[in-house]
């Protein structure tokens, strides 16, 4: 029911044990060299070069490869060579499971097909974004998985309005926000009206009537919904090599006043139309 990685899928189905999965992960860790290790292995750098670059990383927010180039230790062509070699020699979890005798090659193929089918509903569909935004694949995932989870978790029909760049979030009953850092610095914000907050609460709590629920519980259900969406986005992003760290969800104060997007940030908004008179808006605030 969620975005998964292949090893988890196999353990959940009882195809491989957790012990065998760990053995395969350990094999991967010993075989898959990090960029610095690979550059060292290929004779492009010395251990002292790597140490210098790691020291420089303490004060510069740069990836090791880019830093090695900026310090004149690697040429761009050598960096490209190292990355290509890293990709070509990467041992995938399925291959590692075959090597530790947890699966045969034929079983691996069968399970990969089953995994593809299980995860098909989470394949990102076309999302139209304004031009010039950074990290487009991750932004597309955030929007697409939000829409998919509205269907799967909230069981609602909806219509998406045009995505636009915005300088503020319109006033509404509640803003639930999830700070995201790592390869993408952003905040995921879901704005909901009173009626939709109750609709979300009914779906999350599996209750017909939520009228007597305290405000704290109603707010919590919206925060849990965005927690599920963002966790699944992090899982999906990891499949394309992007690391997203999510922090616990929070509510933003005074939603009735709206929210200005501060200088140094860009924001995109997707109006989500669900029912008459109700408003839902997905806003993604991205560090410019």
């Amino acid at each position: 029911m969620a975005v998964k990685f292949f090893g988890q899928f196999l353990v959940e189905r009882g195809v491989v044990s957790r012990e065998k999965l760990l053995e395969a992960v350990e094999l991967q860790e010993s075989r898959n060299l990090k960029l610095g290790e690979m550059a060292l292995d290929m004779g492009y750098v010395t251990p002292a070069d790597i140490q210098r670059a790691h020291n420089a990383q303490l004060s510069k927010d740069m990836r090791l490869g880019d830093l090695l180039v900026s310090m004149g230790i690697l040429t761009n062509a050598q960096l490209h060579d190292v990355i290509t070699h890293q990709k070509n020699s990467h041992l995938y979890i399925g291959e590692a499971l075959v090597l530790v005798n947890a699966l045969s090659s034929a079983q691996l193929q069968q399970q990969l097909e089953a995994f593809k089918e299980d995860q098909a509903e989470y394949v990102t569909n076309g999302i139209e974004l304004p031009d010039g935004l950074p990290n487009v694949p991750v932004l597309e995932m955030m929007a697409d998985l939000t829409f998919k989870m509205i269907t799967r978790v909230l069981h609602l029909q909806y219509r998406i309005g045009k995505c636009e760049c915005v300088s503020n979030v319109k006033p509404n009953h509640m803003f639930a926000a999830m700070p995201i850092n790592g390869d993408v610095e952003a905040a995921y914000i879901l704005s909901v009206s009173t009626g939709l907050q109750k609709t979300i609460a009914r779906a999350i709590l599996h209750e017909e009537d939520v009228e007597s629920e305290p405000a704290e519980v109603l707010e919590d259900t919206v925060m849990e919904f965005i927690n599920v969406v963002c966790g699944n986005v992090a899982a999906k992003a990891s499949q394309i090599g992007k690391i997203l760290n999510i922090e616990p969800p929070q509510t933003l104060e005074e939603p009735q006043k709206g929210l200005e997007i501060p200088a140094g940030y860009q924001a995109i908004s997707f109006p989500i139309h669900i029912g008459e008179g109700e408003q839902m808006e997905l806003v993604i605030k991205i560090k410019a």
Partner: protein, 119 residues
């Protein structure tokens, strides 16, 4: 019947889990802790057989609490309950630290009970 403690900062997750556990007939719900530190205290006071614990919580997070719980109580079985289960590194880190399984959010009653009955 096996006793289950739920650890999650979300009240709504605790409510869902309580409902699933109580309707199963196989397990007893012994309570809800809101973070890892409370989980360690409630493990001592309630002596659960199984702990279902979120990874991403304010205060002491789930993986930090897992490290302590497996040392403090060798009998308790910990299952991580998280929206981050699909992140390969998080899943394997939890298993390496001693979690018996990981349940991904969103979950359903059938999936939760299947995992609880297996541990």
């Amino acid at each position: 019947m096996k006793k289950v403690l739920v650890v999650d900062d979300s009240l709504s997750v605790a409510r869902q889990m309580q409902k699933i556990i109580e309707s199963s007939g196989d397990f007893v719900y012994v309570g809800h802790a809101k973070n890892g530190a409370e989980a360690i205290k409630m493990n001592h006071s309630e002596d659960p057989d199984i702990i279902c614990m979120d990874m991403n919580m304010p205060g002491m997070d789930g993986l930090t609490a897992l490290r302590s719980l497996v040392v403090l109580d060798k009998d308790v079985k910990v299952i991580m309950l998280t929206s981050l289960g699909g992140v390969g590194d998080k899943f394997t880190e939890a298993i390496k630290l001693g979690a018996k399984n990981v349940i991904s959010k969103p979950f359903d009653a059938e999936g939760v009970l299947h995992v609880l009955r297996e541990v």
